[in-house]
């Protein structure tokens, strides 16, 4: 029967504009996925892969709350399954380290064993906790402030296209500036208080969030944009209901980058000028050849970094729940 499905070559040419739009819409999901792949942390990528497998399996299950629960359960199981091989390797490496230090009798100031690091850290636990607390609050303040500023500026620039055209290329270029190198300058200008350290962490967090967000705000589906304009949605409504939500995956990529940089930059800021925090503590310990405490500091920095990235990833999963609701013909 006639009347549907027949698409001659001339239709394809004539309807090119629409076809492109359709493709853009279809590619939306793909580019989001690409955005997720661009994320720095490899562990994150592994997590995403595990999610994918889980939701695919759950997709085969029936609809409704039952399948939602099955999906959540499957995801947790898949994540545990994916987590144990690297954990086993890590444990093996630690054992090897312990054995090597004991076997060759390496001196503790040169290379302490994991056991030694643990016991020294336990002895210094109060000081360690105090310094870790200082670093954590500096990190969180800087991360929140920098990200908020990046978000706000991105939104503002997006709503002012002319200003955006002037500023966006510079923002992209500025990503190549090693912001940490600005630390000594900030100390010259703002002294040794909290301010220069906070500014440094904020700057480090600001750029990835701002640039990712600006890209995301541009990436809204043109078909949806056209629909909203047709039914009379004003500029603000299109921003709030379409552009902002469709930029969320990009925002979270930026936030994850910022989160993974923020602890490091806080530690470096404390190296440059401070009397507390893990950076200060590690510098002091290394000068006193208390190598085990330097190691303890490193371990805590790594843990804080992972925690922060995991928290952002958790917030992302919560905010983008709709994306895991895949299934049926789309």
């Amino acid at each position: 029967m006639a009347g549907s499905g027949h698409r001659g070559p001339d239709r394809n040419e004539a309807d090119g504009r629409e076809a492109v739009r359709r493709d853009a819409a279809a590619d939306g999901a793909a580019s989001e996925r690409a955005g997720a792949a661009a994320d720095g942390a490899a562990s994150e990528r592994a997590g995403a892969a595990a999610d994918g497998a889980a939701s695919e399996r759950a997709g085969a299950a029936a609809n409704g709350a039952k399948s939602a629960r099955a999906r959540a359960g499957g995801r947790t199981r898949a994540r545990l399954k994916a987590a144990w091989p690297p954990l086993a390797v890590l444990a093996a490496l630690l054992l090897l380290w312990e054995a090597a230090v004991r076997l060759w009798g390496v001196e503790a100031w040169l290379m302490p064993s994991p056991g030694r690091i643990l016991s020294d850290a336990w002895e210094a636990r109060e000081r360690l906790a105090g310094h870790a607390g200082a670093t954590l609050s500096l990190t969180l303040l800087g991360f929140a402030g920098g990200s908020a500023a990046g978000f706000a500026l991105a939104a503002l620039l997006h709503l002012l296209p002319l200003v955006r055209a002037g500023v966006y290329p510079l923002l992209v270029l500025s990503q190549n500036v090693p912001i940490i190198a600005l630390g000594p300058l900030l100390v010259i200008w703002f002294g040794f208080g909290l301010l220069p350290k906070l500014l440094l962490v904020m700057l480090v967090c600001f750029f990835p969030v701002c640039v990712a967000m600006l890209g995301g705000l541009r990436g809204a589906d043109p078909a949806l944009e056209r629909y909203l304009r047709m039914i009379g949605a004003g500029r603000w409504r299109r921003f709030a209901s379409l552009e902002l939500p469709s930029s969320a995956p990009h925002l979270f990529s930026g936030l994850k980058l910022a989160a993974s940089y923020s602890v490091t930059s806080a530690v470096v800021a404390e190296w440059i000028g401070s009397d507390r925090g893990l950076g200060y503590f590690m510098l002091l310990s290394s000068k006193g050849f208390k190598t085990s405490l330097v190691f303890a500091g490193v371990a805590i920095v790594v843990a804080l970094s992972l925690l922060l990235v995991a928290a952002v990833a958790g917030a992302e999963r919560l905010a983008l729940r709709w994306r895991s609701e895949r299934g049926g013909a789309a």
């Binding site: 549907s4 047709m230 039914i231 009379g232 004003g234 469709s246 609701e325």
Partner: protein, 273 residues
């Protein structure tokens, strides 16, 4: 141009859409290409009018002008008496792709459209819920659109347009992306719904059968620069059924429209029958 109206609207009823000698061109590498070359048409209150034309003839562009996305180079468009573009959202709209926001549930998508049309939050929620119930779609209310089939997404998209308060509905190839069987189901579904509360509709399609089944009046658009080259009042009474297809009058009208369309394709005669 012949503007005689047929069944569906009485001649004295106010026009819900008036398009008067509308022309539009786009800039191109060398000069400008004329897309619309003086299109005139009208839709009366409660009338279902179909715009039939080859792909690329400017149907979507014309709807964009009616919706106020662009201004024509010349000519005049009145939607319910108001110049197009004078105020946002003069017409309800259903695009070819369902255009549902993937991060909003079915209910949320309908609510958003109603909010944009000026309803209060509570009103929008109530109207959306009632509409979904009336069409038997309430079990999808809390689903995200991407888990629905293409046909189901279009049902939601149509309901969203149906619930919008504007007197005129613009439907742009609403079933063009569906498979043949789903498409037929959707046409009958839309037919029965429309016959319940006769809104004014301008439907863009390139399916002759679809136009004949649904409309009171069919306009054939020429290829670019587009003008109305043929107007045809559909003589079948309402309520209609798909059984029309087997009537000989249906076949004759279909052949007539097919010939008109084929001429507009430059006589390339790409088989559609």
């Amino acid at each position: 141009m012949n503007r005689k109206r047929s069944n569906g609207a009485s001649p004295s009823a106010p026009l819900v859409l008036e398009v008067d000698r509308v022309a539009l061109s786009y800039p191109q590498a060398a000069g400008r290409t004329q897309v619309l070359g003086g299109v005139s048409l009208s839709v009366g209150a409660g009338e279902f009018v179909s715009l039939l034309g080859p792909s690329g003839s400017g149907k979507t562009t014309l709807l964009g002008l009616v919706g106020g996305l662009e201004r024509p180079d010349s000519g005049r468009i009145l939607v319910a008496g108001e110049p197009a573009g004078s105020r946002p959202g003069l017409a309800a709209y259903m695009p070819q792709q369902a255009a549902l926001l993937p991060w909003r549930t079915v209910q949320g998508n309908i609510e958003l459209a109603l909010r944009i049309a000026g309803r209060s939050r509570e009103e929008a929620r109530r109207l959306a819920r009632e509409g979904l119930e009336r069409l038997g779609l309430e079990r999808h209310a809390r689903s995200y659109p991407q888990v629905l089939s293409g046909g189901m997404q279009q049902r939601v998209s149509f309901l969203r347009a149906l619930l919008s308060p504007q007197p005129l509905m613009l439907l742009d190839e609403p079933f063009g992306a569906l498979d043949a069987l789903t498409r037929q189901e959707m046409q009958e579904w839309l037919l029965s719904l429309w016959e319940q509360d006769r809104r004014s509709v301008l439907l863009v399609t390139h399916s002759i059968e679809e136009a004949l089944l649904l409309s009171d009046r069919i306009l054939v658009l020429s290829s670019a620069p587009a003008t109305i080259v043929r107007e045809l009042a559909v003589p079948f009474g309402r309520p209609r059924r798909r059984q029309l297809w087997s009537e000989s009058a249906f076949g004759e009208l279909k052949e007539e429209l097919y010939q008109a369309l084929r001429r507009e394709r430059g006589g390339s005669g790409e088989g559609r029958a």
